[in-house]
Assembly symmetry: C2
């Protein structure tokens, strides 16, 4: 159990520092300090900085997907499922701003670009399938516009990403009512 303890402390420290100061503003020595371990200890748990960064991303992504599944029923109508997922994304990241800042940085870095490329070219994993099914069934039932999946993705998540960032930076404030407005407006963008 000791192993797990230190490992988690390191990841927690890395999350906070990288989310707030970026990959290049979070030296290994600083992460070690914040985690309460020696600099060399990190290398007992992770192969190097890159491995630490990637493993942390995978963990955060897992947590997000788990949250999105809560209260989600594949039997619901397309519109309900869309609104559920959209609002859940907003709520999750507003509650966990560090997760958002970290995941966004990862996605905008060479790491994320490689990951995205892999997923688009190779077979998609569970996370992608989860979203894809909403759009595909929606189009089959003629309630969604006939558009490529990636356009639906962009119309749905593009606005959310911008708004979450602005909220986290303190430029604006999103409450529950506004979350509903936003999710419904983005539904208007994809619906027929």
């Amino acid at each position: 159990m000791k192993n797990t303890d230190k490992r988690e402390e390191i990841m927690r420290a890395a999350l906070e520092l990288i989310a707030e100061h970026g990959f290049h503003g979070a030296p290994m020595a600083m992460i070690a300090d914040k985690a309460g371990v020696g600099a060399g200890t990190i290398y007992r748990y992770f192969e190097g900085k890159d491995a630490l960064i990637t493993e942390l991303y995978r963990e955060l992504e897992g947590k997000l997907l788990a949250y999105l599944q809560e209260g989600y029923s594949a039997a619901d109508p397309t519109r309900e499922r869309f609104l559920h997922v959209g609002a859940a994304v907003l709520r999750y990241f507003i509650a966990s701003p560090l997760h958002f800042l970290y995941m966004e940085q990862y996605m905008n870095s060479p790491f994320g670009i490689a990951l995205k490329r892999d997923r688009l070219l190779g077979q998609s994993d569970e996370g992608d399938l989860f979203f894809k099914s909403i759009f595909e069934e929606g189009m089959a039932q003629k309630v969604l516009k006939e558009l490529p999946i990636f356009v639906h993705f962009a119309l749905t998540f593009g606005p959310l990403i911008v708004l979450i960032r602005d909220h986290i930076l303190g430029l604006i404030s999103l409450d529950d009512a506004r979350i509903m407005q936003i999710t419904e407006a983005s539904w208007d963008g994809v619906k027929r």
Copy 2:
């Protein structure tokens, strides 16, 4: 005129290297090499790396705004103006992918966050006013949803940003027909 030559060579080199490899993947020595000047020469034209980065951003932003104004008429109906600007943004960045990659990186860095904060808190400059007027007049005429300006911003530009990046990374391909579809879908998101 010689002065201008070197200065522009430096900016061109910085644009290419930073757009492709990021701020931290483009050392001053590499920028100097690509520009065909000595490393020290850069410091005759720019106070330091930060100043170079910021001045380059300002220049690119100016070019984008100039392009958006082409063929734009404040007298047109809200819908026409919206579609004009949306399609123009897509076309501009597809034609100038380096500009997009650079501006996006800048916006996702401490530089851009500070800039955004300044603009939201201080008085907005011409660029902001240009967009704002479309949304404000649209709401006054009851053709747009009654939403805060920043939500309109996000609904409009959020999808475009995601799609432009995917296009530039070669994950998807946007032709003229698709550009129209996308712009109109994003109009559906903001219209009443």
